[in-house]
């Protein structure tokens, strides 16, 4: 049975196609102005990769910030549940998942079966989100993708004291004007990001094992700082950590498809029995 999950976030959109628990395709794109457009585009890509069409998908679940406006989805489920489920599928020992997206940051605790136990989320303030990291890289004059490499060359870490991403612009500008090394400021940016995420994780309570998902976890600088602050190593995934939400949505899709197939079978059987008597 073929099912799909589609995660439309604020900065990227992902699609995963599953065939009986096996990942057939996983795609990531930068979002378009409208959520349905992003969803369609990323799902087209994933389908093209597998040579399938929309008709082959038994069930599709959408998730993420734009989940309610996806026309081809049969159902939508919150990204909190999807991230928990996806992470549990990739690494069953995981009890705490940290997801750092473009516009929010979440710490999710799941039980041994991958069901949601508790979560904390920040979506009111940009601090601790991908957008903030992107902005601070920009203030430093480097691309977001170059920040970790730059931070790796640091001789020391310059502490960024502003919590607010807007205020940190002035702070970074002042450090640059005072001829501080960009690498040392980059290390400070990674550290500030990790500090903010650690505060959030502390509120939900850390239970091992830990895993990290979302775009920011590709930044080695932030991940290394966070591991040090939490005194734990993140369990690695053998998939791109940005697809965890879409994967979780696809897993929910598989469950729902099975459930409705069973219901249909029961209904058919009942109808058959009724007709016989």
């Amino acid at each position: 049975m073929i099912v799909a999950g589609c995660d439309v976030g604020s900065l990227t959109a992902e699609a995963v196609i599953l065939d009986d628990g096996r990942i057939l395709a996983a795609e990531i794109i930068r979002v378009r102005p409208r959520a349905e457009q992003s969803a369609r585009e990323v799902m087209d890509l994933a389908l093209a990769r597998t040579g399938l069409s929309y008709d082959d998908l038994t069930y599709t679940v959408s998730t993420g910030y734009g989940r309610e406006t996806i026309p081809f989805a049969d159902h939508n489920i919150s990204e909190i549940s999807c991230h928990g489920r996806g992470a549990h599928f990739l690494a069953p020992s995981v009890r705490t998942v940290i997801d750092i997206g473009g516009q929010d940051c979440k710490a999710i605790r799941v039980d041994a079966s991958g069901f949601l136990e508790d979560f904390v989320m920040n979506d009111k303030c940009a601090a601790g989100t991908g957008r903030s990291l992107e902005l601070m890289s920009q203030y430093l004059g480097v691309d977001f993708s170059e920040l970790a490499d730059l931070a790796a060359q640091a001789e020391r870490t310059i502490t960024i004291t502003s919590q607010c991403s807007i205020f940190s612009e002035l702070e970074i500008m002042h450090y640059l004007m005072e001829d501080e090394r960009p690498a040392d400021i980059a290390a400070g940016i990674c550290e500030a990001m990790a500090r903010r995420v650690k505060m959030l994780v502390g509120r939900v309570g850390v239970r091992k094992d830990l895993a990290i998902s979302g775009g920011v976890c590709k930044n080695r600088g932030v991940v290394a700082c966070l591991e040090e602050m939490l005194g734990a190593t993140f369990v690695p995934f053998d998939q791109d950590p940005q697809i965890v939400g879409a994967l979780g949505a696809a897993l929910f899709a598989a469950e729902r498809a099975k459930r409705s197939a069973r219901k249909t079978r029961v209904a058919t059987a009942a109808a058959g029995k009724g007709g016989g008597s």
């Binding site: 102005p33 516009q103 940009a126 502003s162 991403s165 807007i166 205020f167 002035l170 004007m177």
Partner: protein, 262 residues
């Protein structure tokens, strides 16, 4: 005797020169260089406009976020103390002072004896600050003073739902892309700033007369919205609203100078 005050804020430097309680010069310089260089520049501007030499200044005090970087100052004083001193001199009837600056928003009460009785300030977040408005004006690609004048006529302010400046900026860009009127967008930003400043002000007592200072006081649209939100008339001091702390520093320089006859 001539006294000076220099205020190194987060986005601009200010210098005020006084003689016998009279203001000789008040200058404001937005940062284009390092704050410590800007301090020297704004001080020279004030000296030039007053037509006096550096040597004639008997005593100078620094204040503001960068006060330790003012190398020519004889000492420094806390910004709140300077602001309080300046308001007492300019508006003795003030009982509530709202200071809405580039990075900080604060509100405090003064009792009938002139004592500071309660104060509150924002800490970590740019919401409601001058910097917040500057970011939005950049997203609208229009000068902020032009926006604030024109937005007074907006009849349909758009609601800006994000408190966070980063997220509000995305909201503004979305509105622009959807072809919304820039003035309606800015009118919405003004309401958001006024709401934030009003919320902070309500943490102290709103006693008349209420004086508004800081760079945001130059924004007509926000001032109107803030008056509506607080349901009170806001009094503006008879001096550049950004130069109050520097003026207070100059007055304190005079108070503290042992050689002062005043």
């Amino acid at each position: 005797m001539i006294y000076a005050g220099c205020d190194l804020g987060t986005i601009s430097a200010k210098a005020v020169l006084i003689e016998d309680g009279r203001i000789l010069a008040a200058e404001v310089l937005p940062y284009k260089s390092l704050p410590r260089q800007a301090a020297g520049e704004v001080f020279s501007m004030a000296l030039a406009s007053a037509g006096v030499d550096k040597e004639q200044v008997a005593h100078c005090l620094a204040t503001g976020f960068g006060k330790k970087a003012v190398r020519f100052a004889h000492g420094d004083a806390a910004e709140l103390v300077c602001l309080h001193r300046a308001v007492r001199a300019l508006n003795p009837a003030a009982r509530t002072v709202i200071d809405a600056g580039g990075q900080s928003i604060r509100a405090f009460n003064i009792d009938s004896e002139g004592r500071l009785t309660a104060s509150t300030a924002n800490e970590k977040c740019a919401a409601g600050t001058g910097k917040f408005m500057e970011v939005m004006a950049q997203a609208l690609e229009m000068p902020i003073d032009e926006l604030s004048r024109a937005a007074l006529d907006s009849t349909h302010p758009l609601s800006i739902t994000s408190q966070c400046g980063v997220f509000a900026e995305s909201e503004v860009i979305t509105h622009v892309n959807e072809g919304r009127d820039r003035l309606d967008i800015f009118a919405g930003i003004s309401l958001s700033v006024a709401g934030k400043v009003a919320g902070l002000t309500r943490r102290v007592n709103l006693n008349r007369e209420v004086v508004l200072v800081g760079g945001v006081a130059k924004n007509a649209c926000v001032v109107r919205d803030l008056e509506r939100a607080l349901k009170v008339e806001l009094v503006k001091p008879d001096l550049d609203p950004q130069a109050l702390s520097a003026y207070g520093a100059a007055l304190l320089a005079r108070d503290r100078d042992p050689a002062s006859e005043a």
